[in-house]
Symmetry: D2
Subunit: 349 residues, 4 copies
């Protein structure tokens, strides 16, 4: 890191900084500028502990970190892309775009199976559906809980789709991982560190949504929590950030996709439904995410959106979804990726 | 609520909306405008269920809610300000400004007691200190946990200060409430609904920090979660929101203070330390918050900020804090509030 | 519009609102809800004048506008997409993706012509280059002014490319339009209403960048300023908005592209260079914008980015640009659009 | 500045950076860290020119500026606070809080004089009122232009108040400065550099509002434009920034006040009316701004807010304003400032 001294720092002030650095095992390199002195600090120790206390020393203007704070998620630690193998040939992070589709919330088995069959036919590989729903209002529908998980499992049996579902409590890890192929951490829980640590202690893949106001660095640090406990199976999911714009619920930060691909080896997918809150935008945002390099999508599909218990306005009908998949396949191919439909897989295309 | 139809809505489209409203127990009032038809919906039912499905109907442009979504926290439900009585004459929400001060994290008993005695002398009524620390990096100091709570309790015994400390897990409610006078919910947990519900099922006062990117409405809805389970002892705490500005860690939204006072009966305090991340700003922001109508403050004070294990740069020294309290007292009096110091209380002034 | 009365509004308060509405030529429709009264206002008059004064009446809680404030730019006024014909078969808003490329600032004729020839060969149809540069610092390079315009004109002669260049002052409209095929309004001038009106009084096409913190509605209103003076030749350009994210200079709001396509008949392009500030992101963002439905792109290309007088880090080399165009062509075709290269046009493909 | 090299930078890459630095008159200091090499660059030259080109060199990760980009506005250049003397004892930046009050727009002479007399009696020293109004919609009231300036001048004659009014075009500087004591640059024009330069070439005091999405650094750089042309009479005005919060029109960034006081010698005032858009918040925000160290306030007052042609909802009545001034006086005194009312000044108190 680099320590910038104030204009009127004395030799004594500088000595104090050097002393503090030595105390933490860092070597100091002084650079006497025309107006100001800056000190380069070199060492192998963790910088987190020392930065705060350096900033408290008299005449220290600011401390500029040089290295990014994440290690295990970083591209510099592992060059090749991480592949998340869900079994039966479904792999997130490879050449194939993996589409996860289904209702926001699991409501009843009939609807769920209907939608599962339709999205499977259209080419989705994973069924999404919430059994535990974090809702802004205590008066809104909160999910079917374990009953919902059971319905998801039965839909998997019928369709062969993998399942992804949200987990909202650290103590539910055993329960949810008994059912789900991917454990989803929602935007509101991106910095629920107890939950992250618990997910790091098991091996089920985790889909980690970006927090509504999380920087990309904080998001990667949240993934670092999971990896640092031993679980390297993390899929990142860009789902829109909060901005001043009012025509959309959130603003899909499409740049986050190439940025994750530059800074990390973890796969990254996008959620065009939650990021916009509007089904009319879902096709364009889905195409954009794939074109930007996303490894997959998380799309809301509901057989009867006007009767959905939550988030109807952002759900596609199965017909819309089927058309979208055909379009996406063309974009995927144009970008050197693949996106197979059920028919094709059957035929081995 | 008001349903706005699209320009080319037909009588049939309108009939569908009326039908859907009737189904949910609402009466429809048609207004035929020059260009467009809007429908006013009147009823006593919960609107959450119906809004989403209305927006899915063909030719519905948008649905505009008329009522705010919170009920129990609302000023329209309870006109008089809620007083949170912590015992021994310490009341949050009354005429007296209640200042809560102490270190970001509890590090060792000696430092804690030193700072506790000093802030008590300067007029603080509550000791703050974190035993469970949610940190962005898994490599940062994570708190002393129960050992820290015990130290807080011993500092209370020695000084008579009440104690406020953060809780980060729903399952820790019994543990933390065995020690703390106020249970603090951090910004990152503002929408940890499991935690909120658990806190609603007991009666210990809760200090609910505003999320980094939470709107005031979402913040009040988070409080509604606690009240809806039966606990009305909630103190709101504005602690800065995330914006594009880079000279401060967060932007203290000082308008949130009068807004909470307009829309809710709950007391509201401000955290000038976390909102700025810089001790040089703490005095000005503290004065501003009191002048804007805050019922109290949450201020970081550390005896040796340059040695603090977390957030040193935003901590005041006990001497700085003492000077700040003298200034704040003048501002409080100028605004028709009081802020008594230890000496004064002893003298019964 | 809909006027929401406060809970304790009396009949007298309501009468005042009705009177005020009548005064402005609106008819009032009362809806007596369970808790509250709302009033629908119907009329053909401009609502801008009446809204503010209604909100001042006693017991009016808020006024909710029903109609969007823009008229001439709206899709409801003109259904078919506006085509901006630049001559010689270059049309913005049609099936062909129009790519505008070149240096941030015009620096010298040699570099400009070199880059112009290369981008023309790669398939660009318009040459971009700034002669008037609005810079954050008064100490930064401010542009070559008219000399720069002359160089642009000579580059046009040599390559057949159209030219787009920024205009920053209302009084420069005659000067800049004597040279440019498209007059660009930068993000900082999006609400320079004097400039917008002046541009509305002539017929040269205008490329209107979205302001750094402008909502889509404000951006469309800025376009409305130009159309309302008589010039319908407006191209909108999404160039990133300001958010809390720090890994990019701005956040490309890719949703703005389909939203403009829904709400307006004007063509919309994207600027992947300014929105990210990083050349490593330009290819992914360019593909994303085209996949989202953009009618074109504005890309920075510099023959020697490391010697550029401004914005080098976001400039592509001509070689990078050429590769990007080949990729974009595939994405365009996958989305039902075209993107011809120089060779192809020559061959009439 | 400090140049951070990429992990795999070679000696040749480093040599290139050193060469580029030498070329621009900087000396290079190498620091070989455990993982990475960083280079400190020391020199007296303007860094703006070199930063961009350094970032383009192969294997340069990033360039970290050490110095802030502003010079003349900086506290390090001029330690003592700048006083803006408006004549007749009205000085902005001294001990006295200077309140500027009046209608958003000048509408007619009668109203203007009525409000001018009332605010003067209540203690305002400057009359505000817009003759040129930048409006989001081309269909909104745009101001009375020179006729409005004349009315302002006559109100000054009658009351002795100084006048502040907005200027929106560089070519209007002679016209507006013929009437106004302070020339106001609105938020939308904060980066209208042509206007700023023109204002720098004359000596009339300038009130520079912060842009809606301007960082404090950009705001100070905008002031630098004026100072760099020779006019040091600049008053900064915090007027709220754009955030995701929807209960207020903008978010008053109260931290900007102490930050300007730390980084610059220029006086800073606050606009509680535009920042909130709601008159119910004006008293609390006014008190907060003064308590945070503002040198003055810009407050909207209209004799008949419900009839105002613009921004009625945020205007105080003269009676409200008079009460506010009494409150503010107490807060000012509590903070070691003064705020005299007309009566007091008359009596020489």
């Amino acid at each position: 890191m680099v320590i910038v001294m104030k204009l009127d720092a004395t030799e004594k002030d500088i000595a104090k900084v050097e002393e503090k650095l030595a105390e933490h095992g860092f070597r100091a390199h002084l650079i006497r500028g025309v107006e100001r002195i800056v000190i380069g600090a070199v060492g192998e120790k963790k910088r987190e502990v020392v930065i705060d206390s350096l900033e408290m020393l008299p005449q220290v203007e600011k401390v500029v970190p040089i290295m990014s704070p994440y290690k295990l998620v970083s591209h510099t630690v592992k060059r090749e892309k991480t592949l998340i193998d869900l079994g039966d040939g479904v792999v997130v992070g490879g050449k194939e775009i993996v589409v996860m589709a289904g209702p926001c919330a699991v409501e009843n088995e009939e609807n769920l199976c209907e939608v599962a069959e339709k999205v499977a036919t259209a080419g989705a590989k994973v069924l999404r559906g919430g059994a535990f729903k974090p809702r802004t209002s205590p008066y809104s529908f909160q999910g079917l809980e374990e009953k919902g998980l059971e319905m998801m499992a039965r839909a998997r049996e019928r369709t062969g789709l993998k399942i992804v579902t949200e987990i909202i409590n650290a103590q539910d890890v055993p329960l949810v991982s008994a059912y789900a192929d991917i454990l989803q951490v929602g935007a509101r829980n991106m910095q629920n560190f107890t939950l992250l640590k618990e997910l790091g202690k098991q091996n089920r893949p985790v889909l980690l949504k970006r927090g509504l106001s999380a920087t990309i660095e904080e998001w990667l640090m949240a993934a670092e929590y999971i990896l640092s406990e031993g679980n390297y199976n993390v899929i990142l999911c860009e789902r829109g950030i909060r901005t001043f714009e009012q025509y959309t619920r959130n603003t899909l930060d499409v740049s986050a996709i190439p940025l994750v691909n530059i800074y990390s080896h973890l796969p990254v997918i996008a959620d065009p439904s939650h990021s916009s809150g509007e089904r009319r935008l879902v096709p364009a945002l889905s195409r954009a995410a794939v074109a930007a390099g996303a490894d997959g999508l998380l799309v809301e599909v509901h057989p009867y959106p006007e009767k959905a218990l939550c988030d109807g306005p952002q759900s596609l009908t199965p017909q819309d979804f089927s058309l979208l998949m055909a379009d996406l396949r063309k974009v995927a191919l144009a970008c050197g990726r693949t996106l197979t439909t059920a028919d094709e897989s059957a035929e081995g295309v």
